[in-house]
């Protein structure tokens, strides 16, 4: 594991207008090493690997690969040099089939029929079964990732870059992925593993480089560190874990009975017979791999899509077919996952965005006219109560960073004092500090007697704040169970386990 470095990066700097993404970054990776790049969102991890993969040209600094100077101008150059990459947001084409997707990521792909045979061989050898003829749009997230990995493996990479590969996998699927990566490392492939999940890095990596605000702040051996040490290096301070007083849950506020809903589009998921209830003061966590009905469940609860009236009851009142404004008036509020374009209108100001959801409950209109002053005050209250970093209520939603906009979107609903609040992915892509603030706000709201439904793919988050936990799997919801004391294996099984995957046979 020692010896000449496979890839070494020296003093790489890349600046964008207004922000230095990478500032004099240096590190090296040896053959067979699993090297972690660790950092918060916006720490510069993605920019750095894009430089290595030829998608971004650094302003200064140099890289060597196999001891030769290395400056890829395009991903084609990188692939020719033996560098392969699995992207965080999959670089797949939904309407094309598996073999075509693989061919697009290769430099000199063989004819499709021959390629299909090689895909079958490689996927068998590594325990990642794949049908080359299937359309990618119909695959699960775990299967899609297999497509990306097999695409890389077919090129016999010397360096494999993985950008946050586990965010969409069940715990069992993560185990299988790790087995595959360990086997590749044993065969001499260097792996550059990007994540902000500390447990994974402790379990998998031989070395770690920690980035903060574009700079390398530490290099360490994760096998000799604790998760807390790494976390504090990452954020550069101490982390506050959200806290709450445990209270006895009260009366049932939201009751969902046998909710079924056809998918909205060809690649959507149908909700099948979903039932649960949430009580006053309680947080229900709903986990599951992306694309198993989360968006559909939020749409059914918020009123974007109508179900039968009896399927959803708020304080005993049938509201399954009520439109969103009526549900808001009754106290059922929702914050969807997609911040820009779904939760907020990107080019409108924060004031206008506040009016869009809070007009009725906060009396921001009178006789059909907007009460601008009241609306501005309300936006201002959200900004100060939730520590939203922005120039003011007049700023466009688009101009806020992800974490700040998320705080605004959650704050906009929380300050309306809902009876029931439904949130989807409340801290997705948000840095650790902001995430802790958002979670604390949800817990405080529950402590004041609201019922909260948190839909999330981040299991650590759900375990931290949920009283009860249920999982969505192909549109079905498992029976909720008390979150305390649930083991990772149990959660994984509730999420549907490892769908038809088998563990790699480590040679």
């Amino acid at each position: 594991m020692t010896g000449a470095a496979l890839l070494s990066v020296e003093g790489v700097t890349k600046a964008y207008p207004g922000v230095v993404a990478n500032d004099d970054v240096s590190f090296s990776v040896a053959p067979g090493e699993v090297h972690a790049l660790l950092g918060e969102n916006g720490a510069g991890k993605s920019t750095l690997v894009k430089s290595i993969y030829g998608l971004v040209q650094p302003d200064s600094g140099r890289m060597t690969l196999h001891g030769q100077p290395y400056a890829p101008a395009t991903p084609h150059d990188a692939r020719r040099g033996g560098v392969a990459m699995v992207f965080q947001h999959f670089s797949l084409f939904e309407a094309l089939d598996v073999a075509e997707n693989v061919a697009l990521g290769m430099e000199n792909p063989p004819p499709l029929r021959q390629l299909a045979r090689r895909i079958a061989e490689v996927s068998q050898a590594y325990g990642l079964p794949l049908d080359p003829g299937r359309t990618v749009g119909h695959l699960s997230a775990g299967e899609r990732q297999r497509v990306e990995i097999v695409r890389c493996l077919l090129q016999n990479p010397r360096l494999l870059i993985m950008d946050e590969p586990t965010s969409v996998l069940t715990p069992q699927e993560v185990e299988i992925l790790f087995a595959t990566l360990r086997r590749l490392a044993a065969e001499g492939t260097a792996i550059l593993y990007i994540s902000h999940k500390l447990q994974e890095i402790l379990a998998l990596c031989d070395a770690a480089t920690i980035l903060r605000q574009g700079r390398v702040v530490a290099t360490c051996d994760p096998r000799e560190s604790t998760a807390r040490e790494l976390a504090e290096l990452m954020v550069g301070g101490t982390l506050q874990t959200p806290t709450r007083e445990t209270a006895e849950p009260g009366a049932v506020l939201l009751e969902v009975r046998s909710l079924s809903l056809a998918p909205a589009n060809a690649f959507g998921t149908a909700l099948r017979d979903v039932s649960f209830e949430v009580r006053r003061g309680e947080v229900l966590g709903i986990g599951g791999v992306a694309g198993n009905g989360q968006d559909e469940l939020l749409a059914a609860l918020s009123g974007e899509r109508r179900a039968s009236a009896e399927a959803i009851r708020l304080e005993g009142r049938a509201i399954g077919d009520a439109p969103p404004p009526e549900r808001r008036r009754l106290g059922l509020l929702a914050a969807p996952e997609e911040r820009l374009g779904h939760a907020a209108a990107p080019d409108m100001t924060l004031t206008e965005n506040a009016v869009l959801s809070a007009a009725a409950r906060m009396n921001l209109t009178r006789h059909g006219f907007l009460r601008w002053r009241a609306a501005r005050d309300y936006a201002g209250r959200i900004i100060s109560a939730f520590d939203v970093r922005t120039s003011g209520p007049g700023a466009a939603a688009r101009s806020l960073s992800g974490g700040n906009l998320q705080k605004f979107v959650i704050g906009r609903e929380v300050l309306q004092r809902p009876e029931v609040l439904v949130v989807n992915q409340p801290t997705w892509g948000v840095d650790a500090q902001a995430a802790a603030q958002v979670r604390q706000a949800l817990l405080d709201l529950a402590a004041q007697g609201a019922a909260i439904v948190v839909i999330s793919q981040d299991l650590d988050e759900l375990m931290e704040i949920a009283d009860r936990f249920a999982a969505l799997n192909e549109g079905r919801l498992s029976p909720p169970r008390p979150a305390r004391g649930l083991s990772v294996e149990e959660i994984g099984l509730m999420m549907g386990g490892a769908h038809d995957m088998e563990t790699a046979h480590v040679a």
């Binding site: 920019t47 894009k50 030829g54 998608l55 971004v56 395009t74 991903p75 084609h76 990188a78 692939r79 992207f87 999959f90 670089s91 797949l92 084409f93 939904e94 309407a95 094309l96 075509e100 061919a103 697009l104 990521g105 792909p109 359309t135 749009g137 589009n265 060809a266």
Partner: protein
Amino acid sequence: MSGIDPILLLAALMVGSTPILLAAIGELVVEKSGVLNLGVEGMMITGAICGFAVAVETGSPTLGFLGAAAGGAALALLFGVLTQFLLSNQVATGLALTLFGLGLSALIGQAYIGVRPPPTPRVDLGPLTDLPVVGRVIFGHDFMVYVSLALVVAVWWILRRTRAGLILRAVGENHDAAHALGYRVVLVRLAAILFGGACAGLGGAYLSLIRVPQWTEGMTAGAGWIALAIVVFSGWRPFGVLVGAYLFGGVSVLQLNLQAAGVAVPVELLSMSPYLITILVLVVMSSRSRTALGAPASLGKAFHATT
């Protein structure tokens, strides 16, 4: 009804359908790459006058068609630069292109009103052309009819079977992913736009040099719009485009014959029938197939590399 000769009708069908087929197969490639160019009508009429002018000046219909392709592609290049480099809105730019093309062609065409173009010879396929019935219907046309059919097959084969076609479809499906894998999204789209413009130009010239044949202002009369509709309703499939174009051409020729035969149906109804029937048939065809999957997911979206 007795005045209609079915053999002549079938032969006229192929001639009547070719302009729309050419324009539609070009637009299919453009849309498969993720670009919505609503300027087909403008590129067609520009091709019509460019082809007409070149043919008249040189006396060669073949050079005329080359000139038409160049004219259509030049207009498409304008669209490409505006939408791909300056990131203007594709819908608005396409509509403007149509208006611009209509005006530009009227200006160029001032000197050519009432002129007769050199005739385009029919291809003599020897014994094939001498076959009874089939010979007259299928093998007795000018070369552009066969060029258009060959284009349909070539487009199908390239999109389905070649790497270039795969890259083109990938760019139309998910331009961010294609960029991340290192493909030149803007260049691929620009090439598709130019091809679409050239095809539309050929379609226009087929009208002015063969079908009519003479130059009148606004002579495309909405053919470009029908070509656009055919692309969508065919589910972005080359052979669906062929069926749609021949259906439209067929009904157009039939209703003209019916008008001439003096059938007791209002002329207005007959005139609208090709549009109505083509759209109805294509809607029915597309509703029961997997058309939704044929639609390129990035269609009409501007691409800008963020990093």
